[in-house]
């Protein structure tokens, strides 16, 4: 193990690789978590159907019965103007002011919870337009815009993470390539002697490729540790925040497969960097 002969140099290289690997990995984890959060919120999307104020109680009941048989509706709640008023009175603290109102300004409302099969995309749009088209409906609202915006933002963020990861992979290639170049320079005398006593290029190349591979794998492992430490540090405040929003949301780290892939990828990048450096610099060292 040549790496252990110069421990400080090796540890520094490992750390550089670890940081460069941990950066895109962290962003990836953040993105995954935000996406999970987004789906949670999307599932709780609700359509508020404001009914015409002149709608008769009987026609409302008929429509509710029709709606209840629809497959794409999971739950249907009717809030009459009186109920709405009393809730508003309780929660707003404006009781006295409301007493001065001559008539109830609140319309009857149907709260429609779409079934999970219809909670997004075209199915949701269909349900919404059906509700809007009904003669009893004054207005039906689904705050879809922010969901769409979130989706677009996540798409953008995903591409940014990918681009950043590409840049950092390039950086890693250069860092490892340079480290291997220095290693080759410092072993110049040995390489010359090995070539003189009949060492093939493959024989000379092999230990440097292993060095690159170990740098990559080691850096990847340290990156995983950094990531786990960061998650551990962030988890308590995140779940506290989530509990304030009545959510049981939890930060999720990388699963085993993804972790293994990350370490393997770092190792491959190390190998590739070493390959590039060896290809460029080893052939230049020939006995004179």
């Amino acid at each position: 193990m040549r790496l252990l002969r110069s421990p400080l140099q090796s540890v520094l290289t490992w750390l550089v690789i670890a940081v460069a690997t941990a950066l895109p990995a962290t962003l990836y984890v953040a993105l995954e978590n935000i996406q999970a959060l987004g789906y949670q919120w999307q599932d709780s999307s609700q359509i508020s159907v404001f009914l015409r104020r002149d709608a008769s109680a009987q026609s409302i009941t008929e429509w509710r019965q029709q709606l209840a048989s629809r497959q794409d509706i999971a739950e249907l709640t009717y809030v009459s103007p009186e109920q709405a008023m009393s809730e508003f009175r309780q929660h707003s603290g404006l009781g006295d002011v409301l007493d001065d109102l001559e008539q109830n300004p609140l319309p009857p409302v149907l709260l429609v919870q779409p079934a999970t099969t219809a909670s997004q995309g075209a199915a949701l749009e269909t349900l919404l337009s059906d509700l809007q088209a009904h003669p009893l409906t004054d207005d039906a609202r689904l705050d879809m815009m922010w969901v769409q915006r979130l989706e677009q933002l996540l798409l953008l963020a995903g591409r940014t993470v990918f681009f950043l990861a590409l840049l950092l992979v390039l950086g890693l290639l250069l860092v490892i390539g340079n480290t291997i170049r220095l290693a080759i320079e410092s072993r110049r005398a040995e390489i010359l002697v090995v070539k003189l006593v009949g060492g093939t290029n493959a024989y000379v190349r092999r230990p440097f490729l292993y060095t690159g591979l170990w740098y990559g794998l080691g850096g990847g492992l340290i990156a995983l540790i950094l990531l786990a430490a960061g998650l551990y540090w962030l988890s308590p405040p995140v779940s506290q925040l989530a509990s304030l929003y009545q959510s049981d949301f939890k930060l999720e780290g990388l699963d085993f497969i993804t972790s293994a892939q990350l370490v393997l990828l770092a190792g491959l990048v190390g190998l590739a960097g070493a390959w590039l450096a060896v290809g460029r610099h080893l052939s230049a060292i020939e006995p004179q």
Binding site: A189, E190, V194, K195, L196, V197, G198, G199, A202
Partner: protein
């Protein structure tokens, strides 16, 4: 063993190191290569080792046309040639044993086999008791003997030595020459480049003289001085 046919070597700088060199060294011979510095001794050695290629003519080693050897073939070709350098080219980051073991490791020998052969070679040069030391702690003569052990550990048919006694006093030089003579008596072909005239005189072997890139005497076997 070695045959040069009308070999010329002109470097990119325009300097002609060898011109129209013809000679033959038979298997089992021990030949001294002599001449002033710049006469072409080093170039001749490099052509045999395939560190340089002739500009003209051809070099045959062990019956093979060397100009046809390319790529990994060069490495395999060199495994059959032992080389001793003036500055011995030992590696100071490892023990005497590991220095001598290098040609065997490169050739892919088994670990047990390596141990046996390295100890036999070190025994021949009288340094078996120093196998664990770093070569930097050895004297100049001892370092050169380690270099010789490394050159012969693979039992090559041909050993080249470039000024092997260049930095040694007469007594140590004589010791080294005795070693070479012993290897020669075991059948190894030896080519020793040197300008130590006294040493050559005492050895009574064939001398190949070079001057200004041309062979001036000793081109054919049997023509000892």
């Amino acid at each position: 063993m070695i045959r040069f046919e009308n070999v010329s070597k002109r470097y990119d700088t325009g300097q002609e190191a060898l011109s129209r060199v013809d000679f033959h060294i038979a298997r089992g011979e021990m030949v001294f290569l002599t001449g002033h510095s710049g006469a072409g001794k080093s170039t001749l050695m490099k052509l045999i080792m395939l560190m340089e290629r002739p500009s003209h003519g051809q070099v045959l080693v062990g019956g093979r046309q060397t100009n046809r050897i390319r790529g990994a073939g060069i490495a395999h070709f060199r495994r059959d040639i032992g080389v001793v350098f003036q500055n011995h080219q030992l590696l100071f980051d490892r023990s005497v044993f590991d220095n001598v073991a290098l040609p065997l490791q490169v050739a892919g020998f088994q670990v047990g086999d390596i141990g046996r052969r390295v100890r036999a070679a070190l025994d021949k040069v009288g340094l078996l008791h120093k196998e664990r030391q770093n070569p930097i702690t050895l004297s100049g003569g001892e370092q050169q003997r380690v270099g010789i052990a490394r050159a012969v550990v693979n039992k090559p048919a041909l050993v080249l030595a470039d000024e092997p006694t260049g930095n040694l006093d007469p007594e140590l030089s004589a010791e080294i020459m005795t070693l070479f003579r012993q290897f020669n008596e075991l059948g190894t072909t030896l080519v020793i480049a040197t300008h130590d005239i006294d040493l050559i005189g005492r050895m009574n072997k064939r001398v190949l003289s070079l001057a200004n890139g041309r062979v001036t005497s000793g081109a054919a076997p049997g023509g000892s001085q």
